[in-house]
Amino acid sequence: MRPEPNVVRAAAAAMVLALALGRGPSARSALGPRYGGELRIAVAEAATTVEPSVPRGLADRILAGLMHEMLLGVDEEGRPRPALAQSWASAADGREWTLRLAAATFHDGAPVGSADAVRGLRRFLRSESAAAAHLARALEGGDEYRRRGTEALPGLIALDEGRLVLRFRVATAVPLAPLASPAAAIVSGRGAGAGPFVPTTPPSARGVSATAFGRHVRGRPFLDVVRLIAAPSDRAARSEGLAADVAASATPLPPAAGLLLLLLDPAAPPLADGRVRALIAASVDRAQLARHFLPGGEAAEVLIAPTLLPALPVPPPRVPPGPAPVSGRLVLRVSSEVPQSASQRVVAHLTALGLEVRAVAAPVASAPPGSPRLLVWYPEVAEAGLALEELAALAGSPAPVRTALEAADSVRDFDRRRADLQRIEESLRATHVLVPLARLPLPLGARSGVHALRATASGALVVENAWVEP
């Protein structure tokens, strides 16, 4: 029987404490994690919601990771990892999956039960989430339920207090991966989460504070308090006397999981012309962009991170034949997560082609049709197939891509599925509606003395294992 995570943490901390008493400060960090302390994270914008949903920005992603817990996580290959569900088993040739819940507790003290899971998943299935759409298509009765044609959902059953069953129409490659979406987080009947930290203040324009949740499913976090501070810059944060431990930095946390994506909506001229889009896609010097305008960034030729989907060799960009018909005016909507220097560089490229570009900082989610967008995209679930579905939706769900994705979802052979996904990625990229430019890490770096802070492929910040030196 494996010891409880709390016990492991406690023992490690005791050893560290004993050793630290006999060592100087300079060696403390080498001794390992310690309980206690406060971590201040400065972000450019405040979190917009505490409800389980697809995060719209960095602050939302961080806060979701602090407050909430899903049934499962996924590894880089899309395989599930335990979270609130500690184990799972399939039956009926992969069409039925039974999840056993861990002995977890919500922040309000209520135990996590299957009824809470079912309630959470029902809400998830009707949310604005690509992963939810995928799950609804796969679950029995999921489509109708998602379209609100019925309240019956035969594909989701609470077997007993500690188990729930998911029944799928067909066996799919990664049936449980959608459950790792932040929108699928499970909350109690009173809305309390089950994440490693409990919010102590309601989110405001200035930020939010959270304290360690001692009964977290993976044990109490090392940190006592995490403060998420909304400040336009670290300088602004310092000017308010709130020196941040984690803030915008020239040395951001790896990995570079965010995709700087140029979305060329073909709904209106001049982007309606595929040659113009191809020319734009070919004209951007991605290496220069990443090297000089994206600290910690790297050029991206493909849409899915190689860690999720190894890329096929990408041929050098080819300028389409014929006279360059590039002229016209564009209003480029830029997400606030895009560094200004990178946005300016993209504008410079477009201007050099002959376009008149006006860049405005605006929420890209609400951009009108026909307007190009520059954003930093993180997959909702760090799984290649789901990521491609999400990207396909951004590109307007071209029918061939959608068909190919549905076909690939039923391929259970890992290698074959990977090859299918590669081809789908290539065909999606070939429309030049989605132009990958670079990969960039979270725009956050930690000061020295902050340890074990980790960024995820979904653009979240894992704080539960972080600790700070005294």
Partner: protein, 582 residues
């Protein structure tokens, strides 16, 4: 009374006419010069303000030119220094190249600095680092090599800024380059110039159709106008602006504009002040006119009232307080009144004396006539007595009887004369009672119709005449005298007309004949006692008539001319509220 009211109304109107003429005179004297003055002042102010605006515009134009020239010199100095001192010949690294413009620009005080290679590719840029490695683009301003539209980083993209730049070729790391540095002519700088000049300063690129102006500049909101005209006026959001422009390049203009509101405000202010002063002047003119007209017209009206009183017969001295010419007039009038009064008194006395003399003459004449026959009869009797009395008694008796008859006749005549005089002297006061004049006329005419055998008698008696307060007997006697006179004036026949009618002050009674008429002398002496044109008349008849009419509060007048007959008109007042009862 109606006539008096009419006269009074005319007098009031005359007074108002004088006041109105005085007011009009003062207004004409005061207001036109004031209006002329205001027009002159506004014209002068308008001209001065226009000139001042023109001067401000010229100063603005010159100021912008001076600023641009100054910036150009600074840019040239900075770029020259960079080219001379700071561009090494050592091979360049990418990092060093990229950061060079920022470092050199900061050290030489050039907000804008770019280094471009021979192919027009940007090697380093302080204002637009995102453009490094890309072509610089066509940003020149035609006809002005020192001016360019520079791309500068702006939020998530870029913006174009007009800039004053200096350009120099150089060699950098063995590579031929062009170093271009300068200063932005952006909204901030133009705002500073605008505040300094007190005018709106902006740049207009007619080739691109763009304004470079401060954020809230009204010029950027103006309807398009052609700066090539040099100057003009443009309306912006309801405010008129005067503008002037000068070329900075072939298609780039500096435009300076000033609002015309000051002129409108000042002229409006002058207008209001003028209006206010004009109103005050009018009020002052009105007050002065009222005061002066009162001082002038008052004595004049008083004088006129005294004249009317004099005309009505009131010659009592009443001083009219006045000075100056009016006072002289009043003094002369008073003297005239005094003379009139004295003359009237003398006249009255003379008339009185004349009347006594006439009466004495008439009395002597009347008495003399009967006395002579009496004396002659008595002398005849004495002679007869002396001559024939002893011898012929019968002849004496016959002569005595004849002579005594003559004496008795003459004595009766004397008695009649004495009775008539006595009646004239002892005219009783009338006892007034409401009298129907028409009925009285008929009654009197009835007494004379028998004597009017050859005279046609006509009556025209108005119906509905108000009763007249009169003594019936006296009035009948007066009417009878007039009728008798009229009949005596027509011995050979004619027409006697008696009319009654209503007049303003009462009732009129007319007695007209178609006799020979009266001369002017006869008419004027007609009512003098003892004046008569008839043989055997006492001359008291018309005097008695006049006395009776006068005692009734009326008046009598006569109209006559030789050969045109004679008309006597008696005007008697109407019945008062309280009437004497018989």
């Amino acid at each position: 009374m109606g006539r008096a009211v009419s006269v009074r109304a005319q007098a009031v109107r005359r007074g108002q006419g004088l006041r109105g003429r005085l007011l009009a005179a003062f207004v004409l004297v005061a207001v036109p010069p004031l209006l002329l003055f205001a027009v002159f002042v506004m014209a002068l102010l308008s001209d001065r303000l226009e000139r001042a605006a023109g001067q401000r515009l010229r100063q603005g134009i010159d100021g912008v030119r001076a600023r641009v020239t100054g910036l150009q010199r600074q840019a040239e100095a900075g770029v020259a220094s960079i080219v001379h001192d700071n561009l090494s010949s050592a091979p360049l690294t990418e990092e060093k190249t990229r950061s060079a413009a920022e470092e050199l620009g900061a050290s030489h005080g050039l907000p804008l600095l770019e280094i471009v290679d021979g192919s027009g590719r940007v090697l380093s840029s302080r204002q637009w680092p995102a453009g490094v490695g890309l072509p610089e683009g066509d940003r020149e301003v035609a006809g002005a090599s020192h001016l360019r539209w520079e791309t500068v980083a702006d939020d998530y993209g870029a913006a174009e800024r007009m800039a004053v730049v200096a350009t120099r070729p150089a060699t950098w790391g063995g590579v031929p380059v062009v170093v271009r540095g300068g200063f932005p002519l952006d909204a901030e700088m133009l705002a500073e110039l605008s505040d300094l000049m007190g005018a709106e300063v902006a740049l207009r690129d007619t080739a691109r159709g763009r304004w470079v102006a401060r954020a809230d500049s009204p010029l950027a909101q103006a309807a398009p106008f052609d700066p090539a005209k040099g100057e003009g006026t443009v309306d912006i959001s309801g405010t008129a602006y005067r503008w002037a422009a000068a070329p900075l390049g072939t298609s780039l203009w500096e435009v300076v504009a000033v609002p015309h509101t000051l002129l409108a405000v000042v002229t409006g202010g002058v207008g209001w002040v003028t209006l206010g002063v004009a109103v005050l002047a009018l009020l002052a003119a009105l007050v002065t006119a009222l005061v002066l007209s009162g001082r002038i017209a008052g004595p004049v009206r008083a004088l006129a009232a005294r004249a009317r009183a004099v005309g009505a017969g009131d010659l009592e001295h009443t001083a009219v307080e006045a000075s100056d010419e009016v006072g002289e007039l009043a003094h002369a009038f008073a003297s005239m009144t005094h003379e009139l009064r004295t003359s009237r008194e003398r006249l009255v006395q003379a008339e009185r004396v004349a009347a006594w003399r006439e009466m004495a003459r008439r009395l002597a004449h009347e008495l003399k006539n009967p006395i002579f026959p009496i004396q002659l009869s008595i002398e005849t009797l004495r002679r007869a007595l002396d001559q024939d009395g002893a011898q012929d008694g019968a002849r004496f008796q016959s002569l005595f009887r004849e002579s005594s008859d003559t004496i008795l006749d003459e004595l009766r005549s004397l008695r009649a004369i004495v009775e008539e005089f006595s009646q004239f002297a002892r005219m009783p006061p009338p006892r007034l009672a409401p009298t129907d004049l028409g009925e009285l006329v008929e009654r009197v005419l009835a007494l004379y119709r028998a004597r009017a055998a050859t005279v046609h008698i006509e009556t025209e008696l108005a119906a509905g005449l108000p009763p007249v307060p009169a003594d019936r007997d006296l009035l009948a006697r007066a009417l009878g005298n007039l009728v008798a006179n009229a009949l005596e004036a027509m011995p050979d026949g004619g027409t006697l007309a008696v009319k009654t009618r209503a007049v303003g002050e009462g009732v009129a009674l007319e007695v007209s004949d178609t006799g020979p008429g009266l001369t002017e002398e006869q008419r004027t002496r007609l009512f003098t006692p003892y004046y008569t044109t008839k043989k055997g008349g006492t001359g008291l008849g018309l005097a008695i008539v006049q006395g009776i009419v006068s005692d009734h509060g009326g008046r009598i007048q006569v109209e006559s001319a030789p050969g045109a007959g004679t008309t006597f008109t008696l005007v008697l007042p109407s019945a008062p509220i309280m009437m004497a009862t018989p």
